[in-house]
């Protein structure tokens, strides 16, 4: 049967439309198999501006400090724990850098001290992260805690972040902290 030009164009259009629908369905199917996406911040881009503490819709912020122990020097004079120019290396509140006292310091052995983050007290201000990065190995890092994050469609912190450190990440790689054990589930 001989087709005229109109039939030919109609067939082509239907074919292209059908291929498009199949393609979109395929992409969606692959994406749905991969699972959801979550908000996370990249410590390499983070400048510890303090907005994680003030911009999050959750109070206190869903961004918390995490401690990558593999990177820690277990220092006595920890830049993340003590205020600058501290005179006395003791656990007195006046010596602590954290505004909410969310870091617990405990003696290990001479000259090492262990620093643990108390999640309930941490407000994600990043002050300790900056202190650790300035003087130490950078083992204190900020991360979105997914058991607290409500995963807003438009993350309020991501909108305010001046260093563009926030992005959507696949649920399989929910954490992006730097260090020896990157992308470890916590």
């Amino acid at each position: 049967m001989k087709k005229d030009r109109r039939d030919f164009l109609n067939t082509c259009f239907r074919f292209v439309a059908g291929a498009g629908i199949v393609g979109v369905a395929g992409v969606l199917a692959v994406k749905s198999q991969k699972g959801d996406f979550l908000w996370q911040l990249d410590p390499a881009k983070c400048t510890q501006c303090g907005r994680c503490a003030t911009s999050c819709v959750v109070t206190p912020s869903a961004v918390k400090c995490i401690h990558v122990y593999d990177m820690c020097g277990y220092c006595d004079l920890c830049g993340g724990y003590f205020r600058p120019n501290v005179k006395n290396l003791s656990t007195g509140a006046e010596n602590q850098l954290c505004p909410t006292g969310a870091i617990k310091r405990s003696y290990v052995e001479d000259p090492f001290f262990k620093y643990e983050i108390i999640d309930e007290l941490c407000i994600g201000c990043g002050k300790c992260v900056k202190g650790c990065g300035a003087f130490g190995n950078g083992s204190l890092q900020l991360q979105v805690s997914h058991d607290l994050c409500v995963n807003c469609n438009q993350c309020a912190i991501a909108r305010d972040c001046p260093s563009d450190a926030f992005s959507r990440v696949p649920i399989e790689q929910a954490y992006k902290f730097a260090g020896f054990k990157t992308n470890k589930k916590i």
């Binding site: 303090g50 220092c75 006595d76 600058p84 090492f112 201000c125 300035a134 003087f135």
Partner: protein, 320 residues
Amino acid sequence: MKNKLILWLLVVLLLVVVAIMAKDLFVSQNKPQENVYEYDLKELRKVDSSKISHKEVKQIKIQANELHGIAVDGKDQIYVTTDENILVLDSDGKQINSLKMKGNARCLTVAENGNILVGLGNRVDIRKPDGSFRNSFIVAGEKAFITSIAIDGDNVYVADAGQKIVHHYNIEGEKINEIGGKNPEAGIKGFVIPSPYFDLLMGRQGELWVVNPGRHAFEAYNSSGVQISSWERTSMSLDGFSGCCNPSNAAMLSDGSFVTAEKGLERVKIHLPSGDFKSVVAAPELFEIGTVGIDLAVDSKDRILVLDPVQKMIRIFEAK
């Protein structure tokens, strides 16, 4: 008439509302927000000018991707390791020679006879004074990472930050001893090295001074590995060292005083042989924030040569 007036008022009101909405939509308000949680080191970066004992007299720019180490020989010739080679300069900064290296030369020292000892990862290369190859040896151990070398006659001391120990070799690479391992009975606490900054130098009387950066300490050993002296100063102020690994680099003046370089608070200071703070050579304001690996050397006139790896230059300081 009255209705017309009301109509005009409403039109004006509508225009005002539209203008406000347009401003909100199209004019971005990127007001800088004050960080109420600012970590402020400004006060610590300030140095009282009366405490600065040296002035910068010369800057020698170096063309290289990375700068790692600096040393000075008996003729005050300057040696700088880059990621590709060793540059040899005269005391005025004019390039005399360039020695191609196989690997990233992290540190070096120059012997009295002019031999050049270079640390490359876990390997020590020894070059003759003319730059030709003499011999080479490997520091055993999976984690071996050489950060500093010192030589006294035939004795070669190698600081190994990876294994937290000082290796004692002869010039041929035969191992003689290990120095500084933890030994509570001998009162040696061991080296604490959280990051790869572990320097050492020869003292005026042939003693080996090793920086113990995790303890903010200097420890002196004799060639048998016996600790003979030590001092430590922990403080964020000028009188000591702070953070996890300071001082990161050191050198010695002819009177036995220590020249120290720090990271975190980038500064170069002088400590007396007792360890007490003496003066500041270079204040933090001279360096870019975040500068690490500021290496030091001292020439025969007690000029202090500071290798600035970020601004890629040698900065020479003389006493005021």
